[in-house]
Symmetry: C2
Amino acid sequence: MGIRERREREKDERREEIIGAAESVFFGKGLAEATMDDIAEAAELSKGTLYLYYRSKEDLYLAVTLKGMDIMEELFRKAISTGEPSIKRIYNLGEAYYEFFEKYRNFFRTFYFFESPQFHTQVSPEMLDACTGHDRKIWELVLTPIREAQDEGLLQSSLDPMEIGVMLWSNSNGLMRLIDRHADHWKDSLGVDLFSLMRKSNAFLLKAMMTEEGLKKFPTGTFEHAATGL
Amino acid sequence: MGIRERREREKDERREEIIGAAESVFFGKGLAEATMDDIAEAAELSKGTLYLYYRSKEDLYLAVTLKGMDIMEELFRKAISTGEPSIKRIYNLGEAYYEFFEKYRNFFRTFYFFESPQFHTQVSPEMLDACTGHDRKIWELVLTPIREAQDEGLLQSSLDPMEIGVMLWSNSNGLMRLIDRHADHWKDSLGVDLFSLMRKSNAFLLKAMMTEEGLKKFPTGTFEHAATGL
DNA sequence: GAAATTACTGACTATGAGTCATTAACGAGA
DNA sequence: TCTCGTTAATGACTCATAGTCAGTAATTTC
C-alpha cells in the first residue's frame, strides 16, 4: 500500500521545510540569537512540532550543517570527475573548496560549530554520528585523486595519502577562516592579501610533497590560472 | 593619599579572584554549561557582584582568554630572547606555541571562542578591543625574529614578514585544533600522527620560504630535536 | 557623628529551551 | 457512514538562567 510511503514522503518534506526555515533564521541571527520560536514561525509550525523532528536546537543546527556537507560533496564530486590528470583534479578540489567558501559562506560557517565539540552541549549522538559519517565520506572523495597521483609516481609515496590531504585541507581551512573574519583588516591595515597567501602556501606544500617526476610534468604554477592556487 | 590606591588594588585583586573562579568553572563545564551562579558560588560572591566587574558572562569568558594570552605572551617572549640566531628563535616560537597548547590546553581552547565572532553575541566592544589589542601585541613579538631573519638574508625578502608568520601560525593552529579534538581517532583508526605531521608541514613551509643562503646555513632538520619541528 | 561614597547583595524579571496533555485529521474495518 | 485507533500537530506550561535594581552595609570625608 502506498499510504505508508506517502506519509514517509510527507514527513521527509516537512523535515526539509523545517531545515529551510531554520536555515534562514540561523543565517540571519546566528545560532545563539536564533530562537526556536523564530524558526517555528518561519516554518509556520508550532514549536512543539519542531521537536517531533529534531531533538534540540543544536541538532537542528547540525541538520543545516549536513545540508552544507551535501552541497560541498556535490562540488567535490564534480571536481574529481573531469577525467583530467590526477594532479589537476587535486587542484580542482582546492578550487571547489574555495568555491564552497565563497558561494555558500553561511554553510561554511556552520562548520565552525561542528568542528568545536566544546560547544556541543545538546547534540544527540545520532546527529553527531550522521555528521562525522558524512565528513568521512567527503574525505574518501578527497583521497581518491591523491592515491592516484601517488600510484602514478607524482606524489611522494612515503607520505600517507591522508597526511597529504590533511596538510592541504588544514592549510586552506585555516586561512579561509581568517579571511572570513578579518579579510578587510588584513588587506587594508596590514597589506596582506590572504587569498593569494593561501594560494602560495598551498603551492609550497604541494611542491614539497611532489616527486621529481611530478614536478617535471607539472611544474609549480601549471594551473595558476585556477581560482585557488591549490 | 593612599586610600584611593589601596581601593584600586583591592578592586584589581577582586577582579583576579573572579577570573580565578570563572576559570575553574569554565574549564570544568565549558562556556555554555557554566552558569553565573556557579561562578558566583566559586568566587564566594553574589551574582550581582560579578556584574559590577564584568558586563556579561561572555566578557568574563574573554577575561579568562586574556589571561591565556598573557601566559602565551610570556612563553613567546622567553622563546625569542635567547640570543640565538634568528632562525632558531623562529623555531623556538613554534615550540613555545606547542608548549602552550600542551600545558595550557584549557586556555588554548578559550581561543576558539575568541576566534569565532559568530558566537560573540554579548561581548562588549571594550572587551573585544582588549583581546584584539593583546592579539596584535603577540603578533608583534612573532614578527621580530622573522624580520631579523629576512634582514640577514635567511628568509626570502620578497615575502611580507606577516605572510610568513601567518602561514606558519595558521598551519600549526589548524593542526593543533585537529589534535585537540581527534588525536586518538587519527592515530588509531587512520594511522596518522598529527603531531609529526605538523612538524613536517611546518618544515615544508619554512623550507619553501628560506633563501639558498639560509638553507645552506640551516638545512632542514637542523633543529629536529626540538619539540615541534617548526 | 552626620553625610556621602563605594561595595555588595539577592530577590526579581525576562527570555527562551524543551515538555506534555489535549485536539484534529486521517484511515481501516464493520 | 459510523466508530475506533493511529499519527501529526498544538500551545500553554515548566524550568533554568542571564541580567537588573532597589536596598543594605561598610568605609571615608568633613
